[in-house]
């Protein structure tokens, strides 16, 4: 293994590439996400030796092999559990979990809920391509109703799950969204996720060129993107459209959004700390509404491992006086001579 220690200069995106050949399908959205991640890591100045990528199983889960940091490719759906153990053992490590829609929302659904509600200080990036790629194209929990696949030749009859709504429902304190093809946007979102203390949840819409090509065209295609994407900025009005001519506001008297001209009164202003607004934004779907991208929710709270250690230290964690002899002789003893 080649060892490159870079100490005399800031790390560049290419310094975060491992020596392994990347083996995703040509044209896969994962390449763009990898590139964005390498740039984000360089931007935030992540020390390679303290950065750990943990993944489960699936196409996305190969990610750690291609980053020059520490990496652990685990088993299907369970990356959050291993990441939690890593953070408990060494809270100083900077942990990223890379997962997919099947990995995080089907087989690993339980762990996603709990890593978010516990607020473990890590970044969880979910590559959502609405399909099982590595197993050759079966419908996934995010596939839209009617999706035809080898296991649903007549079309899926199941309702899809919304990743961001699940994350918010689980109590995530940071929920954001981006798209594989929006490089600058994605780099920014990943940077924000990294900056946030506690569990950061990022959903990235990722195109699977082989099994689900173009599934996000209804809001990512160049010609309609301005009309179909709402780019969120904290403190800024919720406006979109080619000339930013459209806006969102609450239907008077209802907890429901409607599209109005940007010139209308009562246009909503994005507030990252408003969970109810984040839920509404997460639920927006084309064609009636644009897809909300950027940071939907950011409202930090103490991280899990910090609370665990604070409590344990108060209870004497690792105090020098804790001798084993004292432990074994605690309670009632008697001496036989």
């Amino acid at each position: 293994m080649t060892v490159v220690t870079v100490t005399d200069r800031e790390l560049q995106p290419k310094d975060f590439a491992s020596d392994q050949e990347v083996r995703w399908c040509p044209g896969c959205g994962d390449y763009a996400i990898l590139k964005a991640m390498q740039k984000a890591l360089a931007d935030v100045g992540a020390p390679r030796e303290r950065t750990v990528f943990v993944s489960g199983i699936g196409c996305a889960a190969r990610f750690p092999y291609y980053v020059s940091t520490y990496g652990f490719h685990t088993i299907h759906g369970r990356a959050p559990t291993i990441a939690t153990g890593i953070k408990l053992a060494n809270p100083e490590l900077d942990v990223w979990v890379v997962t997919g829609d099947g990995d995080a929302l089907s087989i690993g659904g339980n762990h996603l809920l709990h890593v978010l509600r516990r607020n473990v200080d890590l970044q969880l990036v979910l590559f959502n391509n609405e399909i099982y790629g590595l197993t050759k194209g079966q419908y996934s929990p995010t596939s839209r109703k009617g999706t035809r696949s080898p296991s649903t030749p007549l079309g899926s009859v199941e309702n899809p799950i919304s990743a961001c709504q699940v994350a918010l429902g689980a109590g995530a304190r940071f929920v954001a969204r981006s798209v594989d093809t929006l490089m600058a946007h994605l780099v920014g979102v990943l940077g924000r996720a990294h900056e946030h203390r506690g569990a950061s949840f990022v959903e990235v819409f990722q195109n699977c060129v082989v099994f689900n090509d173009g599934v996000f065209d209804n809001f990512t295609a160049k010609e309609i993107a301005p009309e179909a994407q709402l780019h969120l900025q904290h403190g800024q009005p919720l406006v979109f459209g080619r000339t930013r001519e459209k806006a969102l506001r609450l239907v008077p008297g209802k907890l429901e959004l409607e599209v109005v001209p940007a010139t209308a009164g009562d246009v909503l202003v994005h507030d990252e700390r408003n969970r109810a607004l984040a839920q509404l934004l997460a639920s927006l779907e084309p064609p009636e509404f644009p897809v909300a991208l950027g940071v939907l929710y950011c409202n930090p709270a103490p991280a899990f491992e910090g609370e665990v250690y604070a409590q344990a230290r108060a209870a004497g964690l690792g105090t020098a006086s804790a001798s084993l002899d004292g432990l074994l002789r605690g309670g009632q003893t008697w001496t036989v001579s």
Partner: protein, 624 residues
Amino acid sequence: MATSTPPRPSRTREAVESVVIRFAGDSGDGMQVTGSQFTVETALAGNDLATFPDFPAEIRAPAGTTFGVSAFQIRFGAADVLTAGDAMDVLVAMNPAALKVELRDLKPSATIVVDTGAFTERNLAKAGFAANPLQDGSLAKYRLLPFDITKLTADAVKTFGLGTKEAHRCRNMWALGLMLWMYGRERAATVEWLQKKFAKRPDIAAANVAALNAGHAFGETAEMAEHVVGYTVAPAHFTPGVYRTVSGTEALAWGLIAGMRAAGLSRMIFSGYPITPASALLHTLANLKAFGVLTFQAEDEIAAIGAAIGAAYAGALGVTSSSGPGIALKTEMLGLAIATELPIVLVDSQRAGPSTGMPTKTEQSDLFQAVLGRNADSPLAVIAPCTAGDCFPIGVEAVRLATKYMTPVIVMSDTYLAHAAEPWRIPEERDLPRFPVRFRTDPAGFQPFQRDPDTLSRPWALPGTPGLEHRIGGIEKDFDTGHISYDPANHHRMTQTRAAKIAGIARDIPPQDVALGEPLGKLAVVGWGSTFGAIHEAVRRSRGEGLEVSHIHVRYLSPFPANLGDLLRRFERVLVPELNNGQLVQLLRAAYLIDAQGFNKISGKPFHVAELAAAIREHAGRDS
């Protein structure tokens, strides 16, 4: 014998060698704490002892029913006590249901103490008695001591102004007081314990102490019937040292901590998911943070082992624990730990199965699961403590093997060991082994799966170490570079290397010893795990009868000690008693091509010495 002249402040006591007492009542009657306190006082009196708590799965079954009976058995004596005893000398039955359930395990001339206050028509009916057994003569062969403990307790505590319910709850202390008197035990430790336990309710503490004292005084004064005598049990002969009573759960928790310290690790991450009977270990360790332990209650069994693996990857001692069904859920993760060669300890507190089975009852039926129960060729180390006290060195050994060989290690405990208590000579930390781990820090020539030529284990390289950045995972790795590899010959080589690594542990563990008897002869009785005491006593008894029989107890189940096959071949016959339908016997037959025979009991209860002795007579007496 007792004299009849009152008052009798120091009545003559009858000396006995050993006694089996069983406290039985409703699961809400406090029988477990009664038994535990009797155990403490007995230990302080210097007797050897063994205990067996036996409680229902229901937390509060309907009062008065037979399935709600909770019991605690203790055997104590002057000589080597290795089991809680086959049959009772004394039964303390707090209600008709307890009497009904426990009658079958009484010695013919046993003493039965009953609370007549609880023998109401309603309770008799609930227990399924057509007639009151206290009056219909059906207990004539026993020595029946019927006292209205309910009323005597109420009288004793009435000055404290408790409600009827709270006063009623002191009955167990009255019964305890009587039994402490009967066997000449002190009460001071129990009084201290009551005052601590009810520190926030001094009235309840005082009432319980009053009930305890009243029960004791009842025995001491003329109130007792003439035929009731006190007994003395001479102290046992112990090796000099400082002693305490210890349960398997406590000893294992402390052993794991001792192992962590011996390995030079500063942190244990113990993660578990609630399951009977394994949760006790989680509860015990949750209170030991000062010793570097962080406990984590995970969202499920898989997450629990996942966190342990993550912790091991980051340089802590990763430990997880469960019982049979939970171990099944952890199986895929064990495979990951085997493939990535990370050190974790998994404790299996076995219970009766399959599926939910009988969660509070003991069994040894997870041996196949531990040794063989994974997809693919996936060997790991399996060890088993044989007594409550042995859980301590086994805990230390589990950490040694895990860290030295970079492998998961399964520790096979069970319901019986988890709860059973015995006197234990406390070791000194300075006498414990030292096996400091060496984390890899040198980047020069580093490869994550580069093996130590002796142990075949890979380096433990922690995230956070500059220059060692690397990727591991469940995919097969190249032997030389550690990178992903699908090469056919490489997979063959890696599979055999993983097997050789575990097999090599046999060179690093003590040779199999013979617990009792000669290292050759007519019959070897081979056990493993919590059956040690019963087998040992049965072999001792059989040898006393002149039978040529030896006891061999296997603590290392994967790999077996290197000499085990040769040792077993020196016996004409091999008998393998197990609390399952025959698992070790199969492993021994497969490993050594010997005609080992099983003796199996699958009732959720430990072996009785008598049934083992009968099986030994049958096998040792037979010509081969």
